[in-house]
């Protein structure tokens, strides 16, 4: 087995180079990515996240939303992410430079959330959906997150402005209202900030044909 040692030599060398290839090189290639400024509109993409939304990202992580929801759009023609309206273009590395913990996700038990801020801009929808997903999405298997809300007696001043509007079986008992906690507000701020459709040189948004 005289070629054995040579074989082992190659294998051992490759053991280290795989790690160079998969970790070191991408780190160099992508670690220096910055925001892109559109030459026409001077818009900066990706925009910084507000403090509230950054806090919300931490709640997203802590609640483990990533185990059922992805945040990546696959290219057009590969899967149907774009056809489903989940995004106008595929996502690229630059879309994630502001994420403290990048949560691409690996399961679509629920829909992709990359552009949920564009699909559902209304905060009220998000509060109702989090409180009990059956309200907005009957048949959903997403669990209710009632613990993100307080159920309080309606005070002297009447209903609070941020109380959820609930009907039928989902409504609280008479005289009570459902108020989002700080955590819920920050989480919804984060969800509403999820928009990744900025035009980028490496991933241009397909322009609509003249309507």
């Amino acid at each position: 087995m005289s070629y054995g040692p040579l074989l082992f030599l190659g294998i051992l060398f490759t053991l280290a180079t795989s790690w160079v290839g998969l970790v070191l090189l991408p780190h160099r290639q992508m670690g220096a990515l910055g925001q892109h400024t559109d030459t026409n509109t001077a818009a900066i993409y990706p925009a910084d996240r507000s403090g509230e939304a950054q806090q919300g990202a931490e709640h997203y992580r802590s609640l483990g939303c990533v185990y059922c929801h992805t945040q990546q759009i696959r290219p057009e023609g590969y899967g149907s992410d774009i056809e489903r309206g989940w995004g106008r273009r595929r996502t690229v590395s630059r879309d994630y430079i502001h994420d403290k913990t990048v949560m691409l996700g690996t399961m679509r038990t629920g829909p992709d959330l990359t552009n949920i801020g564009e699909r559902q801009a209304d905060a009220a929808w998000h509060y109702r959906h989090l409180y009990n997903p059956q309200i907005t999405s009957p048949g959903s298997i997403m669990p209710p997150h009632a613990f993100l809300f307080d159920v309080r007696t309606i005070g002297q001043a009447g209903r609070s402005t941020n109380a959820l509007v609930l009907e039928g079986p989902f409504a609280p008992p008479a005289g009570q209202e459902v108020i989002p906690t700080r955590r819920a507000e920050q989480l919804v701020a984060y969800l509403r900030s999820l928009k990744s459709s900025g035009d980028l040189p490496e991933a241009p948004v397909k322009k609509e044909e003249a309507q």
């Binding site: 087995m1 054995g4 040692p5 082992f8 030599l9 294998i11 051992l12 060398f13 053991l15 280290a16 180079t17 790690w19 160079v20 970790v23 070191l24 780190h27």
Partner: protein, 62 residues
């Protein structure tokens, strides 16, 4: 960055070095000669080749 650079570059050097040392050791101690003899290493005088062990089901108790 500095901690990462230390780990990354240090490992790129140390891992193949360790592998090469292992290789040199293996060839110098003759690990790759007589592969058929090596296949017999699980066996010895008490449990030689040809003796079944762990026959405990089906009415056997060995």
């Amino acid at each position: 960055m500095s901690v990462i650079a230390f780990i990354l570059l240090g490992s790129v050097v140390l891992l193949p070095a360790a592998g090469l040392l292992a290789l040199r050791w293996a060839t110098s101690t003759g690990q790759f000669r007589c592969p058929d003899k090596a296949a017999l290493l699980p066996f010895d005088e008490v449990e030689p080749v040809g003796m079944e062990t762990d026959c405990i089901l089906g009415g056997n108790r060995r």
